[in-house]
């Protein structure tokens, strides 16, 4: 038994020692030419997001940070409580009047995300919850290069859901008076094609990065 304890202790201290030592990322030779200049970058491989060695290195860095900062937690918690104490957790934004309704967002103590609401006419009217961010997921673009945002057409007839990357975009549309329906893709994404949609009096207008006619 005494021997076993020794081995166990040895393992524990070796582990503690390793987490107190900064990790070293493997170097992989990488050369390329950028704008006529030769570039060497031995850590270029770190961009291989699905490479387990990348995750391994990042997790080693996190473990090292956790080991170095482990005594910081009580102070960090105290700062958190102090800052939280200065925030009114159940709160309301200033209501904005728009076409007969008052729009506002409010937060509830203990909830991470705000709730978007409106009331008809005045703040004594019953509350209508438009969007509770804790529950709603309207659309999730699985391609991580894309950002999404939601907007409406200038004539307020349509909702647009825009997915946009550096040089490509895609817009989905939905009639604003049927918000529970499904968005339809206006034009499927094609690499290098950016376009923006608008609507007025029954016609969609599109601004596009494509040359539509050769004589343009």
């Amino acid at each position: 038994m005494a021997v076993r304890h020794w081995i166990l202790l040895g393992l524990v201290s070796a582990k503690m020692l390793s987490s107190q030592t900064p990790p070293t990322a493997p170097r992989v030779e990488h050369r390329e030419v950028r704008h006529g200049a030769a570039v060497t970058d031995d850590y270029f491989w770190l961009r291989e997001k699905s490479n387990p060695k990348v995750t391994q290195y990042l997790e080693a860095e996190n473990a090292y940070t956790a080991a170095i900062t482990k005594d910081l937690q009580p102070f960090s918690d105290a700062l958190y409580k102090e800052m939280l104490g200065r925030i009114k957790q159940t709160d309301l934004s200033v209501p904005t009047p728009n076409r007969g309704y008052l729009y506002y967002s409010r937060t509830e103590e203990g909830k991470q995300y705000p709730i978007q609401c409106r009331r008809k006419g005045n703040m004594e009217a019953p509350e209508e919850v438009l969007l509770d961010l804790k529950f709603e997921e309207i659309y999730n673009d699985k391609d991580e290069l894309y950002d999404i945002d939601i907007s409406k057409s200038r004539d307020r007839q349509y909702l647009f859901l825009q997915s946009e990357a550096k040089d490509t975009s895609e817009t989905r549309y939905l009639r604003a008076d049927r918000p529970a329906g499904d968005f339809s893709v206006f034009l499927p994404r094609a690499k290098g094609h950016r376009y923006y949609l608008d609507h007025r009096e029954g016609l969609f207008y599109i601004r596009t990065s494509l040359r539509l006619h050769e004589d343009l």
Binding site: P22, D41, L46, Y57, L58, M83, T107, Y113
Partner: protein
Amino acid sequence: MKTYSPYDNLAKRAYPAILVTTSFNDSQVMYWEPAKYVARLRTLKTDSNPLLLKVKMDPAGHGGASGRYDRLHDTAFEYARLLGQVGIGK
């Protein structure tokens, strides 16, 4: 850009204590930019000041954690680390 790129301008010299934060799923500043910065700096720095990298592996984006309480925890940690480095520990 080469003259102000943090990664390309790392040199063999002393650096102050550094805490680098990033999110694995940030869609705008890729996680590998700070990760490469830290990996390379470790091989160059001549001082013994702590260099730390904190990577959010859980869902978090360009602005860090999306929930307000999670975000406040991150801010508290950064303040605690910063204040700790100048000798304020509680």
